[in-house]
């Protein structure tokens, strides 16, 4: 679980965007490393995602074999489970592999 902080302004619906431009995981088909930027956008409820804990969660993919489409959906599930946001979106933009780039966006 990603740790959270109390949201002092939970009475107002506002947006927070957190981006990790240093995401890396491993491609399950080729065994080669994947690199990209993961961006999380959410409207907080009672909780704010704690930055350092979120970072540790994202670093935990470093040795995992997982498809890029699955990375984005798993991060979204974890954000929802940890912080119960009003709404959330996760976007992954991945570097060129075999001459092609990939971008994936999922929302609650």
């Amino acid at each position: 679980m990603i740790e959270t902080l109390p949201n002092r302004f939970s009475g107002r619906e506002y947006e927070v965007e957190l981006a990790d431009p240093e995401f890396t995981s491993v491609c399950p088909l080729t065994g080669a490393p994947d690199f990209g930027t993961i961006t999380i956008r959410y409207v907080p409820g009672e909780k704010l995602l704690e930055l350092r804990s979120l970072r540790d969660f994202l670093v935990s993919f470093r040795a995992r074999e997982i498809l890029q489409e699955e990375v984005v959906n798993e991060v979204l599930d974890e954000v929802v489970a940890s912080a119960s946001p009003v709404r959330a979106e996760v976007e992954g933009v991945f570097n060129v592999r075999g001459g092609m780039t990939t971008r994936v966006v999922a929302q609650t």
Copy 2:
């Protein structure tokens, strides 16, 4: 046919964007090579497009004589036939030819 992988998150409507900045075909009017970027955006159903197979399909245009407007429409038809996406869009942005650039966008 472009090969596919099973979509583990088919219960969620999310978007995938795949871009090939190294597309090349041959102009049927002049015989000169055309160059451009082909971008595919789709909401997957039960299947995900497999990146390497998609790449091979796009490389297969390398020796074909075909209008730029037709490239974009043919790619869209193939994506739909192979992966039965919820919806799909294909965009082609082509380099200067005779002092002019071309951009074509087609959607299901």
Copy 3:
């Protein structure tokens, strides 16, 4: 008239954008040359604009004295008369003259 090619995919409503970054005409007020980029966006009906013929049409303004606002409207009229598109838009972005830039957009 701008020449046309048959549209093999006329059953699908898709967009084509053609840009000429090397447009030049002559200002009727000062006699000095004007420079700019003319961009044509259209949804083709039964016909596609042929690139070389379109280019020749745009080069024909090289020696004409005409206001920038009129260039954009005349090009739109010619595109409509030649290709009978479902809809069309012409945009002209012109270089600094007397310290000011001009942009004109007209649609059917």
Copy 4:
């Protein structure tokens, strides 16, 4: 009054954008010069703004002490009075002053 030219295409509703990246006036609070870009967007009625006359009008602010918010509103009033456009918008983007930038947008 800004001079005008007759609009040969007044039967079509289209947009014209004129930008002056060299606007300068004087701050009434500090006496220091202000710099910025003034952009005018309008749908012409029977008249087109004449570029040189518009430029002279904007240069006339060079020695005036006036707030940036007031510049944008005065230019909009003058454009409307001179050319009776179908609709108009004026935007001013001003350089850093005291470590802060300003942008003002007003519409009819």
Copy 5:
């Protein structure tokens, strides 16, 4: 309270955007300085925010320990209390911390 100036054009609904690219405060969790850009967008009522006074207000965060999400909400509260705008929005874009960037947007 941020000082204000009378709005000579209060009869027209227009937008003002003020940006401070040199905002800095202190992170309450690590004690390290945070840096970012605070942008205020508002439709003025009877009052305009005075630039120098706004700047002083933002500089007053220089030694405060406060979460980035809280900075944006506090600035919005102060703008509303000082200038009673028709509507207002505050956006904070903060530099990389622990490999991640943050962006927060709150509106009335």
Copy 6:
């Protein structure tokens, strides 16, 4: 001949660079227009190149059929004949033709 102005600071060896980003001539092999940027760098002797006269000289290439390599050398010859500079350099950077760009630099 390009007109000149007296150089008030001829006792100091300093550099002047004048650039025309709107140069156009005609290709003698294809009859199609060429476009590019001509940049003149020189250390003035007793004379400064007059900007408007230089501009008229460059506009005079608009209808001439001439190779890009020859444009640059002819402009250099004319600059030397008109202003007798201490030294001079002319650079031409030309737009894509047949998928290729050209840059030519000549010095006294």
Copy 7:
């Protein structure tokens, strides 16, 4: 004269670069305003140029009719007279006038 501050590190030969991106004067040939960036680079002797006084000196050109080549040489003369630098260079980069840009560099 531009005011100066004592140079605490006059025993070390180091470089200072001061740039004013908001320089404006008046063209003596056309009466139209000129705009540009003036950059001063110098190795200080016993004195440092005081920023506010330098700024006031540069603003004093706002109403003067003077050639761009002369601006750069006059600023260099004033810098030398005021601060007796070990060496100095002044560069002026001016906006498009009649479709051409100008850059002037003078050194001691």
Copy 8:
């Protein structure tokens, strides 16, 4: 052999730079297409490289299996054999392959 044109200014040592941003060949190790930009810089002797013929020569690599390092050296050899330049340099900048980019420069 690349065709040539006579150099009207062979008495002056000047530089010509020709760039092809659409170079493509085939990797001999993987069979996958390579893409890059080939830039030729030379000081002409009695002959100028003819642009269209040079382009045809570069397009002839489209189906060849050849290392990127060898492409650059072969182009240099052909330029020297065809135009006998005073001196010449060829640079190839190639797109990412397996997560890495390549740049090769060879000179006479």
Copy 9:
């Protein structure tokens, strides 16, 4: 003193560049905060500058009233005293103040 680490490769003369894009101090003339980027380039001797300790040293300027020219020279003195490099250079690039930017470079 800035802490150091042993240089495992002291037998080879190589260069290290460390940049802090978040430097801030206080102007002694106006009391307003200054912002800029400090870049340190050095050839290490037996010691490498430890990044966290260097950062703490630079953060210590946050509340100091000091001229920008003096910041650069003081940082250079401290780098030399702490790490005894073979040679070192410090560059400060500071944000606009009163419409002007400053850059200072000092070397051993």
Copy 10:
């Protein structure tokens, strides 16, 4: 050892530059991942570095705890041992850590 290919043009002294924008290792002081771009420039002797083998060598740092200064020197040593180049240089540009960026360059 990095594998090599024979250099068909070893008789000519030319330069090859290979860049890996996806380098990652682990900081020995904090245990956090480091990210950066490693660029290798060399003049080949009898051997060319094989791209895939070089890539595997660089990926082997993914789990190693090593200072950034040491990465660059170790890569240089390995390039020299594997390919015996005429000369070689390695540059590492690393992402922000604790608000600071690092760049290291070492040469034979």
